[in-house]
């Protein structure tokens, strides 16, 4: 099953399970979703539950917040994560804060889904990776699934959770296939990292699509450099399964964090701080980061290719932790 089909199955199953779950977003209905994640759902559930909206991101999310406060469980789709910046007010000032600032009187069971990522030559307004922005906000849960199975299991968990969830998909991953349990009960829990590959020499933490790239880099490290890397995919950033990462680092004594987003204030910067605070004595080398380039995303293919991480950069960063480069 493809990643997009797994998401579709999650939405369908949760909508069948709970009448209060409904979809809202730009072109989610008649057009079936800009990336076809919502294909067939309008036909099955009708216009009441699959709602095409105007292009009004802040208001779409805000309506989701209001509906969530008054008994519904909205799933809002934003066409790309760059567009979510227009909804930052509703996501941060409202969705994330409402429960706390009103003294716990109300909950906001809202899911905001959106894809991110470079590689399709969409230039500086459609290609970024902003999980670090949302990771910063207390009150939000943040998911970054990298496999079809996780896409389904985490989306179902997100819909059933009573907190606002930022659910970050990836444009590259939509077409990727993976084994997906087809039972309705494939509901995962947030805050449980996956060890994608076991190894004793170095820990590589890959975020979102970079979990996949990191596994390929690990295969190269094994075949070409005799380095056995352990690859960890946190799957959710809030809550974060720091224990699995720390256990691995205590075993390997080296850590490289790979993300597609920007370096400053990024997920890697945050993880590096957390790891050194708690496992400093176990580190044999500084924690390394491989990140997207510190610039707006260029359009031209050769430039775009070198503006976000690929296997060679990860291999190089890992070897550098051994002082071999």
């Amino acid at each position: 099953m493809r990643y997009r089909e797994a998401l579709n199955a999650a939405l369908r199953e949760e909508m069948q399970r709970d009448e209060r779950v409904f979809l809202m977003g730009e072109d989610v209905g008649v057009f079936q979703g800009a990336f076809k994640v919502t294909a067939g759902l309008l036909e099955e559930f009708g216009e009441k539950r699959v709602r095409d909206t105007p292009i009004s991101e802040n208001t779409i999310v805000g309506m989701g917040v209001g509906a969530a406060m008054t008994g519904l469980r909205p799933v809002v789709e934003l066409m790309t994560i760059n567009f979510s910046l227009l909804a930052m007010d509703q996501i941060v000032n409202h969705a994330a804060h409402i429960r706390y600032m009103f003294g716990g009187q109300v909950k906001v069971p809202l899911v905001v889904r959106m894809p991110q990522g470079a590689g399709h030559q969409l230039g500086p307004t459609h290609s970024h990776s902003f999980e670090a922005l949302y990771l910063q906000v207390p009150g939000l849960l943040v998911a970054v699934p990298s496999t079809a199975a996780d896409a389904k299991g985490l989306l179902k968990a997100a819909i059933r959770d009573d907190n606002p969830v930022i659910f970050i998909e990836h444009e590259y991953l939509y077409g990727q296939r993976g084994e997906v349990p087809d039972d309705d009960d494939h509901v995962m829990r947030f805050g449980q990292a996956a060890i994608r590959r076991e190894g004793g020499d170095v820990t590589i933490v890959g975020i979102s699509r970079m979990a996949v790239t990191a596994q390929r880099a690990a295969d190269l490290l094994a075949s070409e450099h005799d380095v056995e890397a352990e690859v960890i995919d946190p799957r959710t950033l809030r809550p974060l399964d720091l224990d699995t990462i720390l256990d691995s680092v205590r075993k390997t004594n080296r850590c490289v964090v790979v993300e597609e987003g920007w370096p400053h204030g990024g997920v890697g910067a945050n993880l590096a701080a957390l790891i050194q605070e708690q496992a400093f004595d176990h580190l044999d080398a500084p924690i390394a980061r491989v990140t997207g380039a510190d610039l707006p995303m260029p359009y031209s293919k050769p430039l775009e290719e070198i503006a976000y991480p690929h296997e060679p950069q990860i291999v190089q960063a890992v070897l550098a932790t051994f002082g071999d480069v």
Partner: protein, 349 residues
Amino acid sequence: MADRPLPPPEVAREWLETMTLIRRFEERAGEMYAKAKVGGFLHLAIGEEATIVGSVRALRETDYLISTYRSHGHALARGTEPERVMAELFGKEDGVCRGRGGSMHMFDLPRRFMGGYGIVGGNLPLAAGMALACDYLGTEDATLCQFGDGAANQGTFGETLNLAALWRLPVVFMVTNNQFGMGTSLERHSAVTDLFKRGEGYGVPGIRCDGMDVVDTYETTCEALRQAREERRPVLVEAITYRFRGHSMADPEEYRTKEQVEQWRQRDPLTTFGERLSAEGAVPEQEREEIDRRAIETVDGAVLFAEASPFPAPESLYDDVYVLGDQVQGWYSIDERAAGVQRGEDIGP
């Protein structure tokens, strides 16, 4: 407008009582701010009592009300205990939001007062979402969304009116036009100053009421809510009013003249309504004095209650950041456990 007939005497008296309570509460809140009992920003609604009470009284108990950062009066009109509103201003545990929200963020779920919001225009999408939920769940409830003339220039205004009209949502948008977006006067912030006309282009019919006249505001809001509820379409109501105090307590009011303020004070909604009630025999003059005395007593009690209430305990700092459950088991499960990270409760108050 002023010739709309009065409601039955007991109803009119209750309106006067509530308007008086709001006035006395706001005056006292200002005094408490000056005494540093209240922190942050404090936005008083003195002068806007008729707009508040007239519109809130048009609601059914199960309707939703949502407001702005100038919302003590909305909470009081909806029935929230003055003690708990004052305690919130004091930042105390017994405040409506346990001292988490403060003046700008009142909330009372059982009374379906869905909050005061600190972001100008931020509450319009929420209101439409609440109306969507009412529609979706098949209830007869409507939503009343209050915001100021300043918010009419936010992007959410156009976005929300369009969507509410498109989806035929039972919501009334009420722009409380008090003539200023903070210190910028209406004619300096809006090309079209007849704000009720702004909805037409979005398919939202507009109507204007005298926000200094509680009866006119009530009747106009009732009709707007009827249309929203029965005809399933949003309505925009513009209430023309004026705030006698500054935007907040930190406002030297250099953007308007004393003469203008004085001119509007001639139309003080409390005085004009009270005098009309006496003139028409609904509430005798001595009874109005009694109403005022009781309001002051209530506010005295609210201050005593707020003083006596404890500050929230430091260990409650992280309460309600999340709904806890299987996925989020506690604040620690989400974030840093490192010794190097300063946690709030370690600092103390």
